[in-house]
């Protein structure tokens, strides 16, 4: 334990509080000028596109009419009816999307939690190389990573090469829903792992010592202290993975081999081949609502000060 950490553990209130006394009249000048470029950029190219999606969803053709009289809910009706009756592609798309996102979230949680726990509490040596290895995939194009899985899974691919060398002959899962889930779990796993890791790292070690002094065994410490206190990380990670995997298109396209349709692939189909922007937009609005709610919940829960003080150095 470094001196800094020791002091922090003794007087957390003095150092760690998020509302550290920041001067309102800072010598740096007013903050408005610093925020302006980012806010202007977001107003133009983030809020604008969201408005465009919402507006297009009520149009009759691929042109925006601003008069409310021309608006129609036809696209929404088609989607809702299609989903409810199970006819056409919507029933399948909705089911696929929910199954894939839910499965991805559950699997990513089950796989990540032990890893996050180990990283936060057990790993002392080689911590940096391990962390780097875990973030490398995040900085590689999703295209490239998913394509790597295709090369791994295809007939006579890398898997067959490895399996063949030890005399195994297993059928490939490529072009099935499982392959798509494998792809989404792969792509979004770090978004589950890191929030959980950070929330476990922020648990005060003296709490565990106290629990141990009071006679709690390792299992009891885990169940009564670590598990409940890591809940924010689990919630953030789950929302993150669920939302992002709703947008999985490349995974479905390459690993599903054009047989598995998800909301994202259906949306992009509406824009690409069928050129039906209102229909694509109406589907996107559903995704947009879920995403915005989850994003705001995540951001309200995240405490950057906490991450800054504990995240990297422990």
């Amino acid at each position: 334990m470094s001196v800094r950490e020791f002091v922090r553990s003794k007087v957390p209130a003095a150092i760690d509080r998020p509302g550290r006394r920041l001067a309102s009249a800072s010598p740096l000048g007013p903050p408005g000028g610093l925020m302006l470029p980012l806010l202007a950029l977001l107003a133009f190219m983030f809020v604008g596109p969201i408005v465009a999606i919402v507006l297009f969803s009520v149009q009759t053709e691929n042109v925006i009419s601003l008069s409310v009289a021309d608006w129609t809910l036809e696209a929404y009706r088609e989607i809702v009816q299609g989903t409810l009756s199970g006819e056409g592609v919507y029933g399948e798309v909705t089911l696929n999307t929910i199954v894939i996102s839910a499965l991805t979230t559950v699997v990513a949680f089950v796989v990540s939690y032990p890893a996050a726990y180990a990283l936060a509490t057990k790993v002392r040596r080689f911590k940096l190389p391990i962390l780097i290895a875990l973030i490398i995939p995040l900085f590689t194009s999703v295209n490239i990573r998913v394509y790597g899985w295709v090369l791994f899974l295809i007939n006579d691919g890398v898997f067959d090469l490895l399996a063949g060398s030890v005399g195994l002959n297993a059928p490939s899962i490529i072009y099935t829903r499982s392959a798509v889930v494998l792809g989404t779990v792969y792509v979004y796993l770090p978004y589950m792992l890191f929030p959980i890791y950070l929330s476990i790292s922020t648990i005060d070690e003296s709490l565990l010592e106290a629990a141990s002094d009071l006679g709690a065994g390792r299992t009891k410490q885990f169940v009564d202290v670590i598990l409940p206190l890591s809940k924010p990380g689990v919630i953030i990670g789950s929302l993150f993975v669920f939302v992002l995997s709703l947008g999985a298109e490349v995974e479905a396209e390459l690993l599903g081999g054009g047989t598995i349709y998800t909301a994202a692939s259906n949306i992009s189909y509406s824009f690409g081949y069928s050129q039906n922007w209102p229909l694509g937009s109406a589907q996107a609005v559903g995704l947009l609502l879920i995403t915005t709610v989850c994003g705001v919940v995540i951001l309200r829960t995240i405490d950057l000060t906490e991450i800054a003080s504990r995240g990297g150095s422990r």
Partner: protein, 267 residues
């Protein structure tokens, strides 16, 4: 307490198991990247057994004119994106971390929200918006679009290092007679320089690897990721893994530099 001696031994074995589990996760994360690298060195026109080593596909990728022009447009997008999003994101991070003002938390939520959006949603919305507003498609719209997603990420990274700087430093510098420019130049920016550099590297690597946003806004331009995507959906060509591997090598190198910078800013 006979359990004591048992306990001291047990943790060592269990620690080994935890490391083993992490190694499995890392192996899982590396599987597609290693597959790509293996495929890039295989001599077959179609990827299949037996494996024969060759560097031919790397040579083909480097000499192909369509690859060169894709690299060219990617650079013309990612360099401006890096500069813009580093400046904009750093300014946002300074506003968020060095001030207290009403609505500060709302500013954080609004500014960081794009990070949580599936990129396909951002890309589609931007594409329609570009058509409605007459912004159009091509290099400039792609730059604006990527900057929207990457600036918040830079803000996040720089905020983490800026929060580690003593909040009273600016006051102290002013008490000692420094004006605003001097405080920025000699106090604040040097202290968060490592955070800014690693934020900038993240920005470059993310822009370089971006697919969704650029594919909706690029117009007739072809970037590396859209070139790769076009080729990979048309069946196997060994040039694709070779090019993808080269991009991965470069990203990996830059990422290592960024991580080292970020760590230096923390200690």
């Amino acid at each position: 307490m006979s359990a004591r001696s048992n306990r001291s031994r047990l943790p060592r074995i269990s620690t080994g198991l935890w490391y083993g589990y992490l190694a499995l996760i890392i192996a899982f994360l590396m599987t597609p990247l290693l597959s790509l690298i293996i495929a890039s060195f295989d001599s077959g026109q179609t990827f299949s057994l037996p494996f024969e080593f060759t560097l031919e596909w790397y040579r083909n990728a480097l000499t192909s004119t369509s690859v060169q022009s894709a690299v060219d447009s990617t650079i013309r997008i990612s360099v401006p994106v890096t500069i813009l999003s580093t400046v904009i994101g750093t300014a946002g991070a300074i506003a968020y971390t060095r001030y207290s003002f009403p609505g500060r938390e709302y500013f954080k939520i609004v500014a960081l929200l794009p990070i949580f959006f599936p990129l396909i949603l951002l890309g589609l919305g931007m594409s329609m918006w570009a058509s409605v507003t007459g912004l159009g498609y091509g290099i400039v719209p792609a730059i604006v679009g990527e900057t929207v997603w990457i600036s918040p990420i830079v803000m996040f990274v720089v905020s983490i290092s800026a929060l580690g700087v003593d909040p009273n430093l600016e006051e102290a510098a002013r008490d000692l007679g420094a004006d605003t420019l001097t405080i920025y130049k000699d106090v604040l920016l040097p202290l968060i320089a490592n955070g800014i550099v690693s934020g900038g590297i993240f920005a470059f690597v993310l822009s370089w690897n971006n697919y969704y946003i650029v594919s909706y806004l690029k117009g007739s331009e072809i970037t590396i990721t859209t070139w790769i995507h076009g080729r990979m959906t048309q069946g196997f060509t060994p040039v694709v893994p070779a090019l993808a591997s080269m991009i991965f090598y470069v990203s990996l190198l830059l990422l290592l530099v960024a991580v080292v910078m970020e760590l230096r800013s923390e200690t």
